[in-house]
Every structure is written in C-alpha cells, then in structure tokens.
C-alpha cells in the first residue's frame, strides 16, 4: 500500500498525517511535493491540513493551480482515491472535485476543539470500517469551515448520498447547538457520488493515538487500508437514490 501526502508550501498537518499513516497504522506513506505532475502508482492521495500558500485569498484557492492538484482529476478518473482534510477539503471544493463552498465560521473565529461526527454513509473507501450512525470524536481546527451547498446543489447531494459525516452530539443527535461553524445541514464531510473522493473538516490524524486525542480518527485511515488491501473498487457509475 502506498499513500501519497501532498505537501504545499504552507501545509502544516503533512507531518502529522504522515505520522498517523506510517507510525501509528504501519502503512507506507510518502510525501508528494506540490510540483509533482503525476500521481501514478499511489493507492490513495491525501491533501493534508494547513494554510497552503498562506491562504491569503480564499482558502485552498491557489493550491488548485499546483501541478499536483491538476493531476488529481486524471488520477480520480482512473479510479484513484483522494482524502482532503481541512485545507485539503477546501482545496477539493475550489478544484471542483467536490460540490459546495466554504465560508468563514459563523463565530468569525478560528475554532480548535473536539467535535462529534455521525457517520452517514459507510460504503466509501474511507468509512467502510464504520456503520451508519457510528459517532466519532475528532477535533476540528479551522477558521473557514462553514460548508454551504445551497438550494441548487442540495438535491444532487442528497440523491447521490454525498454527505458522509455530520456534526452531532456525543449521542449522535444533530442539533444547532453542536454545529461548530454554522455548516448547512451540519455537514462535516462530503464525498463524490462514487465515494472515491472525500473531504472533511475535522482532523482524523489528530485522533489516531490513544495518548493524544484518542483513536476514533484512526478508523478512517484503517477503513482506507482495508479497502485497498482487499482490492475493492469504487463503482464509477453511482446509483442515484431517491
């Protein structure tokens, strides 16, 4: 198994993600410099958190012009798996690989704290080790994490079951009080219709070690490892659900 972690200037969760993939979970990980033009040979690509290129414009906007992100489209078309965490999620939105857009948190402030996530979909490469309804405790750390899809995009998001995680209480209840950033419909993670591309604001790499942050986040990486190890493939023709 070979997981690539893309490093942009300003990435700052690349080492944490690498550590979670390699030292904690024992998989092979490698850094992929942002100038890399090909992602061939990688079983999965992770866009880590951080402030790519400083994020002085819209978060993730400049990263989309990098060769590595340009290479994502053909990579995904060929069946590749992509996980975008926090700034990586923002980049996937900016690149058009996932629907929707990010706005600043309703609080107007950066938020770093543990949240709970309810698993809405367990048939993706990143959640195949979970069951729908499973609650994960994973931290967020962002200033722009208010996910919006709007009335135009909402039907497709529902039809293709693209919402993978929602913010919830420790017991799995989705209420406004536990929505940390004002995201529409409490959406914390969104996948492509096939499930091959997942973006999420919380940081699973920060919850992959009992000593720091618990191990709920490791279940996402473990799911990915299981998926790859068992040779599963995403269906390139997702079924619409009504």
């Amino acid at each position: 198994m070979n997981i690539g972690i893309v490093v942009f200037p300003g990435s700052n969760c690349d080492a944490d993600t690498y550590h979670a993939v390699r030292d904690v979970l024992g998989h092979h990980g490698q850094y992929v410099w942002h100038e890399e033009r090909s992602l061939a040979g990688l079983d999965a690509v992770i866009l880590p958190g951080g402030f790519s290129y400083g994020d002085y414009l819209r978060a993730g906007a400049i990263a989309t012009t990098s060769p590595a992100v340009r290479a994502l489209k053909p990579y995904v078309a060929g069946g590749g798996l992509v996980l975008g965490i926090c700034n990586g999620f923002q980049t996937l939105l900016e690149a058009g690989l996932l629907p929707g857009a990010m706005q600043p948190n309703l609080s107007g402030q950066f938020r770093c704290e543990f949240v709970h996530l309810r698993t809405e979909r367990a048939d993706t490469p990143f959640t195949c080790g979970l069951k729908p309804g499973d609650v994960l405790r994973i931290p967020i750390a962002h200033a722009e994490g208010r996910y919006l899809i709007g009335p135009a995009g909402r039907p497709a998001l529902a039809a293709y079951r693209q919402v993978v995680f929602r913010y919830c209480s420790a017991h799995g209840d989705v209420t406004p009080a536990v929505n940390p950033n004002g995201s529409e419909d409490a959406i914390a993670g969104v996948a492509s219709p096939s499930g091959a591309v997942l973006g999420l604001m919380p940081h699973p790499e920060r919850a992959s070690d009992e000593l720091v942050g618990g191990t709920d986040g490791a279940r996402i990486f473990s799911s990915l490892a299981t998926w790859i190890a068992t040779g599963r493939r995403v269906s390139m023709r997702p079924v619409e659900v009504h």
Binding site: N12, H19, G50, F51, F110, L211
Partner: protein, 754 residues
C-alpha cells in the same frame, strides 16, 4: 483555513525619528571616544538601536547576574539566542520568552502576531524545530470597550500567526487590572526540540565563509522598533511605523528552509533578524565569534525601492535569518531557499580583522569594531523603596465584613484571571504536531517527546502583578514556586526557567527598587528548586498613563520520565478521596478575593517557607508520577474554594468537603485565603496509605478533606474527618452548597451577556 489578510504597510519611519534620538549626551561622547571620530548619521542610528534598553539591557544587566545560571542538564545558558536543557535520549529542549508589549499596545493584531513570529525564530536560530507556544497576557478591565478591542486583537493576532505557522499554542495565562489599560503585556514563550549534538550557534567563524541572507525581503516596516520599545508610548500615530507586519506563511517556509539548510552541515552559525534587524545580527554574530565581516547592503533583497542604507540596516521586517555558510557551499543554501520560494543572497564574507565593514555598493557605510555596538554602557540606577508600600502593608483585612461565601465564589470565578480561558484557547490550534498530551486548561501543558519516548515535557507561565506590587520580593518568589507547583500537578519536575520582566521606567528609583527585589525573589526560589535561569527578557518603560504593576512572568520547563504518567485538574471518579497536601493556612492579604469581591488591593504578603513548599512540590510530583493520585490542582487565586470549584468543573463531578475551622479563623479566610504550597489531590481510597508514605518521606502535611461525588460542591466547617473520608459538613452548616451549572455559568466568559 484562512489567515487574516495583511493590512497596509507602514509609513517610512526615517521621516519621524532622527538618528541617535534615544542616545544620551554621555553616550554620544562615549561613541566618539570609541570611534576616535564623529559617528556618521548611519552609525548614530546603529548605536541608537544597539544601545537601546531593549537590545542592550543597560539598566538590567548587572541585576540579572544574580539569577542562577547553573543546574542539572543545562546545555546552553544565557548569551545564546535561547537556553537549552537536556530532556534525555540525546535530545534538547530549547526555550525562551519575549515581550511584545509596546507593539501590541499600538497595533494589537500585528504586535501580538510578530511577537509570536519573533520568538519562534529565536528558537529556530538554535537549530531547533519549534514545537509549542505559550502566552502570558495582561490587559485592563475587559468591560472597557477600548480594552476589549485590544484583547480581541491580541488573541486574534496570536491565533492568526500561530495557527498558520503550525506551532501549537498549548497554554498561557491572562489577567486584568486597571494598570494595564493602556499598557497591555504580551509575553510569548516558545519551546523547540533539537538533537543535543546539533544545537546551532550564533558565533560567526571562518574567514572566507559567506554571510548569507535568507527569508522574506526587506521593507521599511518596524524601523526603530527596538528604540521604540525602550521608551514610553507617546500615543502618536508615528508609533505605528515602528510596528512590524507578520507573514506566518513566510515564517512557516523559513522554518522548513532553515532546518533543511542546517541539515546540510554547510551552516556554521545563524541568527534571526529581530530587534535592530541587520545591524544587530551582523554586529552580534561578528562580536560573539571574534571575527570581522564585510557585507554589501546593495545585495540585500528588498521589497520596496529607494530604501537608504540606514533603512536597510535598521529595518525590522519579519521572517528573515542571517547565516554564515561554509565557503563554496552557498549554492546548496540557494537551492533550498528556491524550493521554499524564499530570497537568499550572499551579502558578504567573514574576515579575520575583527572589523565590521558595511558597504552600499562602492560606498562604505561604516567600518568599526562590532564590539563597540554590542558592548553598550551599563547603568546602576538608584533604587528607593516606593512610598506606597508602607501604607499598603498597614492594611488589615480583619476589619472587613466577610462576604456571603457563595456570592464571593461566583464573583471570583467570574474574574477574568480566574474564569475559564476556553474562550481564548479554542481560538488557538493547540493540537497541531500531535504531541499535546495535556491541552490548555490544566495547571501546565504536557507534550510527549516522540523522539525520546516515553519522555515528555511540561510548560507553564506564571506571574502575579498584584503580588509583586504589594511585595516584589515575595511576588518574585511566588511566581517561581507557583510555576514549579503547576508542573508538579501534571507530574513534571522543574528543569529550567526563562522569564519576562515587565516594569515601568528603570530611571525611576522606586520602579528600579521593585525590579531588583523581584529579581532577588526569583533568584532565591530558583536556587531553592535547583533550577537554572537559562535566559530571559526585560521590558521596561511600560507606563502609558500609569505605570504597570511590577510584573515578572516566569516560564518554567519540566521533565516527565514517562509522559503517560501525568494528571489533570478534574476529579476523575465518584468515591475518590480529596486530600490537601502542604501547608494549610492561606491569607486574605493581597488576595484575589480582596480585589474581586471587596475592590481592595492591599495587605502584607507573607513570605512562604520556601523549603516546605519545595518539599510539597516534590511530594506531589512523585505522587502523580507514581500514579498514586487521580488528579492534582494547586490552590492559587481564590484559594481552596476556587481550586475545589475548578476540580469539580474540569471533572464534571461534585464534591463534599469539610475544612478545619478549629482555630476560629474567618470563613472567608479559610475558603479564599491564598498561600503557595497547597495542592488539592484526589485519589482512590486504597491509595491513601501510599500517599501518606510519600507525605512522611517529604515531611509534608497531608489531610483528607472530603470525597468526590454528586452534582454539587458542598464545603463546610468542622473537625477533621476520619481517614475514611469526609462526612456531612459540621455543625456550622455548609458555607458553600452550589450546583455545578452555577459554577460553570460563572466561569464561562463567552456565554456572558456583553
């Protein structure tokens, strides 16, 4: 994640400050004597910043020599960019704290942000990867709209820079008092990690080696910042030009590029370009190494046109380093800089003539012995005990009517210094790098050191301006002992101290007296703990409007042999016993209770029995590290009542406690009286024997005072309970009987109506 956009650049400062404006006539004479001629305007500007209080420690140097600089595991003491101590397995912890008070007063966001950036580069200059930040903040009363804006700006600035650069902000402290209204204090500490055999130096060496500029380009921002920090705030718009603009993105690139450059082995020495910019780095590196340098300012990468040589020399543009690189290996450094999109330029070479020659193309800007710049005059100002002290010491709280206990507890929990700081630290990324074992909100932050597992380190910053105002010596002692006590509560033993000494003008004899006394107090407590002071920073002239309280802030680093064996503040289990370790008596004099409930700042501080406190600290550390206790928390501001409330809030569990009222002391004194060396622990009933053994071994008083359980905090008076735990409060009836929701609401500053 989006960072806050940068705002407009500053106006040219050359227009607002004459060169040498901060120099005394006697200093101008001294400069002429040393040079044997009249200095040029450019040289005057250089002496002005290098001989400023900020750079030269003119008034403090002699006093700082009283601080102990030796201790077990010490690797680098004062004199380098930061101190370093061993954390085991061949790894060193590098740490330092600095103030950014004046810039934060003028431009809260950028002042605080560049404070973070500056201290990070000091750690980087030691060859260490920065792994943690802490902040000690002081503001005026937050209900003042101007103050609220400053608080918001400072916190946002720390968040904006720290979050983006990827170094976690793992702890800190915040307190408010009217004396900080126009003079906020922003002290930032940074911790780094480096292999012991890779600690870098700032000593230039090797004639023929290249002098290399690395980092962001040079602009006109931050001109004369060091001189600006060395005078009182004028409140003029012109002060703004002395504030630098931070760019955490460039800062992050600089961290990676510098560490890669060091890894090549081609870097002989390095220093960050901080206060006094190139002037300081060139002269200090040359003077330290006993070599000369010949550099051309014309080659320095710039981001604006038309800068004069003086402006290039004095600019405090951020995110820049100066490297001495082995001759012939400059291209390696250029390659690394290119990869990270940073500017790099060979601006000169090391020479063997001990002269600093600075050119601007064909013109020679200066040619002098760099030691003339770095060896500034030292002063021994007059020191006279302030007149106010006698009056304040004469105050006796016995004449005050005790407040209703529950009301007083709620008022204390609402006090900004005591209230939960969650509203602050949730704005800081305190988890990045995934080493934060004990996050903010505890007595000290705990980080694992993966490279030296299972070892860990703990860090805390402590200082109490009110105590130092009432008695600077005792206040200095308390700052150190409370820091060590906080470390003990998480299971760490003290390894090193660095400090930020914030005072008003040293040229005022009453202020200088408090400075000397506070340093004496710090020195005494550090000696008692056998912990070295490895570096520090002095910030004088904090006196806009009124002078601040003498406010020494101590940052203390601790070691944990096994980071898995740590403790937190909160109760962990129903049915656990609650015990008090250490001396039992607190006093109302100078307490937070007097200030927050009665509006009085007065009283005679009792000098603690330092050796008894040190024994209590060692006992608790041992108890935590041995896993004997489930939680530990010191009694600090607000006394034992606030400590118990904090343990209950952090654990989400109530408690029933009986305090001994046998000697007929006032209930408010028993509940809210303060003294260092009192630590509340909780433990399984079966562990009491082991804790008792430890208490005997360290000759420390130990008393079981209650048990954990329920949803209320009930505290009463009575005779000491049996070893089986506390029963119901005694005949006097409970002084406190409060549900946790009430305590939580009081402590939560965020939910408070504006």
């Amino acid at each position: 994640m989006a960072a806050r956009p940068r705002t407009e650049a500053a106006v040219p400062a050359s227009a607002v400050r004459a060169p040498g404006a901060g120099l005394r006539p006697s200093e101008r004479d001294e400069i002429r004597r040393r040079l044997g001629r009249d200095p040029t305007a450019a040289e005057l500007g250089m002496f002005d910043v290098m001989w400023s209080e900020h750079c030269a420690y003119k008034h403090s140097r002699a006093v700082l020599e009283r601080l102990p600089a030796r201790g077990p595991g010490l690797l680098r003491g004062p004199g380098e960019n930061a101190g370093a101590v061993s954390v085991g397995a061949g790894w060193a912890a590098v740490f330092k704290m600095e103030s950014h008070n004046h810039p934060s007063a003028v431009a809260p966001y950028h002042g605080a942000a560049t404070g973070v950036g500056g201290i990070i580069r000091d750690i980087l200059a030691m060859g260490a990867r920065p792994i943690a930040l802490l902040d000690s903040l002081r503001f005026g009363p937050p209900d003042d709209p101007g103050v609220a804006r400053t608080i918001q700006g400072v916190v946002a600035g720390i968040a904006g820079y720290g979050n983006s650069i990827g170094v976690p902000t793992v702890g800190g402290e915040l307190a408010c008092a009217p004396c900080y209204r126009r003079n906020p204090l922003v002290n930032v500490a940074c911790l780094g990690l480096v292999r012991e055999d890779r600690i870098a130096t700032a000593r230039a060496a090797g004639p023929g080696n290249a002098v290399v500029y690395l980092g962001a380009r040079t602009g006109r921002d931050g001109m004369h910042g060091a001189a600006f920090a060395s005078a009182g705030l004028a409140g003029e718009a012109a002060d703004r030009s002395a504030v630098q603009m931070g760019d955490p993105f460039a800062g992050k690139l600089l961290i990676e590029a510098t560490l890669q450059a060091l890894a090549t082995g081609a870097v002989v020495a390095l220093q960050d370009l901080g206060a006094a910019g190139l002037t300081c780095a060139l002269s200090e590196m040359a003077a330290r190494g006993g070599v000369g340098m010949d550099v051309d300012l014309g080659i320095v990468p710039r981001r604006e046109d038309g800068m004069t040589p003086e402006e290039v020399l004095l600019s405090e543009s951020q995110e820049r380093m100066l490297l001495v690189v082995r001759a012939g290996r400059e291209a390696e450094i250029r390659r690394i800089a290119g990869r990270w999109g940073l500017a790099a330029a060979v601006i000169g070479a090391i020479t063997d003539d001990r002269l600093l020659v600075i050119r601007d193309g064909d013109d020679v800007v200066t040619r002098l012995d760099p030691r003339h710049l770095t060896d500034a005059p030292s002063y021994a100002p007059d020191a006279v005990e302030p007149a106010y002290l006698a009056a304040l010491r004469g105050f006796d709280p016995a004449g005050l009517a005790p407040a209703v206990a529950e009301d007083a507890l709620v008022a204390l929990l609402r006090s900004p210094g005591v209230a939960s700081k969650r509203w602050v630290y949730r704005q800081y990324d305190h988890m990045i790098q995934t080493n934060t074992v004990v996050p903010p909100g505890a007595d000290a932050a705990v980080l694992r050191i993966r490279e030296a597992a299972p070892r860990g380190v703990a860090l805390t910053v402590d200082g109490n301006g009110r105590s130092c105002y009432l008695d600077p010596y005792v206040g200095g002692v308390l700052a150190v002992l409370e820091a060590a006590q906080n470390l003990a509560c998480v299971g760490a033993s003290p390894a090193a101290v660095t400090d930020c000494l914030n005072f008003a003008s040293p040229e005022r004899p009453d202020v200088f007296w408090t400075f000397r006394r506070a340093v004496d107090g710090i020195a005494h407590a550090c000696e008692a703990l056998d912990v070295p002071v490895v570096g520090g920073n002095v910030s004088f002239y904090n006196e806009a409007g009124e002078g601040i309280y003498p406010t020494p802030v101590v940052a203390m680093l601790g070691r944990l042999d096994d980071v898995r064996r740590h403790a937190g503040v909160g109760w962990t289990r129903e049915g656990d016993l609650i015990a008090l370790v250490g001396c039992e008596r607190g006093w109302l004099d100078g307490s937070e209770y007097l200030a927050a409930v009665h509006g009085i700042t007065a009283g005679r501080l009792r000098e603690p029995d330092v050796s008894a406190v040190v024994r209590a600290i060692r006992c608790v550390r041992e108890a935590v590290a041995a896993g004997v206790v489930s939680s530990a928390h010191d009694c600090s501001e607000g006394g034992i009542a606030v400590a118990l409330a904090e343990c209950s809030l952090a654990g989400g569990l109530g408690a029933r406690v009986v305090l001994d009222a046998a000697d007929e002391r006032r209930p408010d004194e028993i509940l809210f009286g303060e003294q260092v060396g009192r630590i509340v622990v909780s433990l399984r009933p079966g562990a009491l024997g082991a804790l008792g053994d430890l208490a005997r071994r360290f000759a420390v008083p130990l008393k079981v005072i209650g048990s954990v359980g329920g949803g209320r905090l009930v505290v009463g008076a009575g005779v000491a309970p049996s070893r089986a735990g506390a029963t119901a409060p005694g005949s006097a009836g409970p002084w406190l009987d409060v549900d946790l929701a009430t305590l939580a609401a009081a402590s939560d500053m965020e939910e408070r109506p504006a």
